[in-house]
Amino acid sequence: MKSNFKVFLKGIIDVSPLMIPVVPFGLIFGVLAIDIGFSPLETMGMSLIVFGGASQIVLLQLFSGGASSLVIISSVGAVNSRHLLYGAVVSEHLSDLKLVWKIIISYFLIDQAFAISNEYLKRNENKNRYFHLVGAGATCWVIWQSTTFLGIILGAAIPEKLGLSFAVPLTFLALLVNDFRKLINVIIIIISGLVATLGYNYIPFKAYIIIAALLGLISAIILTKIIKK
């Protein structure tokens, strides 16, 4: 059996390529948060407490759009509902973990770490394989905190012309790469995207993320029924 440290290291190495887009994402998060009016301490606190790109971007977007706290929190919840899916996939590999480890690992479970470590967990049987997830998650953590910090400090020094904010939608677009070839997925992507874009100004309380996600999911329920049976 490989040592815990080796598995941890393997997690770091495997997740590293995925960290490249996290750098501009973290920078832009820091810059945007300050721009919107959060203090440097609050911005750093967001990355430390929330530690999730999607959650934090939704928080910023809705906050700057003037949404109420209730809508912001429930939108963050809607965006995080994807973890139910991940849970259905990954929990069997982690079921014999001690509760303490589950509590720790939960903090590090972001999309990139999940994407990479799920492959490792599927292919390996060693008892300490969850160290892979810890390694991948810890790497994301270091990059995310340091780039947030840099974004806060550099702030206005990062030229807006670089268009780094484009890294945000691109990162999420890339998380859908495996879905582009499937017809049902493509239809759902278009429905959700159109509802959010067209409803941005019209759906009350800035609830466009929740509404778009719900309509997307309802379409999934209907489409999977029609197309397969």
Binding site: F63, I103, P169, I188, Y200
Partner: protein, 104 residues
């Protein structure tokens, strides 16, 4: 609600969904049908963040003409379809975006 309370609530809900994912949810809890529908969750959620960020400006108005983000996102999607690689998708998107705004 103060900013700090908002941040803490958002952190809590993010953490709890992750925790429920590995500590509470078991594969057996979902039948095949539910698991099938769950597999569409990312496709239902991420576009609600992606599309407005590409098609709308900061004030929420449409920018369709001369919007380099649209072209770059299309290129990234095409590369994504063929490569199925997260990295290739992001790089091709950023590269074509920069190419459009700095070179063309």
């Amino acid at each position: 609600m103060s900013n700090w309370a908002l941040i803490i609530y958002c952190g809590l809900i993010t953490y709890l969904t992750r925790f429920s994912m590995i500590a509470l949810i078991k594969k057996e809890m979902f039948n095949d049908r539910i698991r099938e529908v769950l597999s569409y969750v990312p496709s239902a959620i991420f576009p609600a963040i992606i599309f407005p960020a590409i098609f709308l400006d900061n004030t929420g108005s449409f920018i369709l003409e001369g919007n380099p983000k649209i072209i770059a996102a299309i290129i990234a999607t095409i590369i994504g379809i063929f490569s199925r690689s997260i990295i290739a998708t992001i790089f091709s998107g950023l590269a074509s975006y920069w190419f459009i705004i700095f070179v063309i």
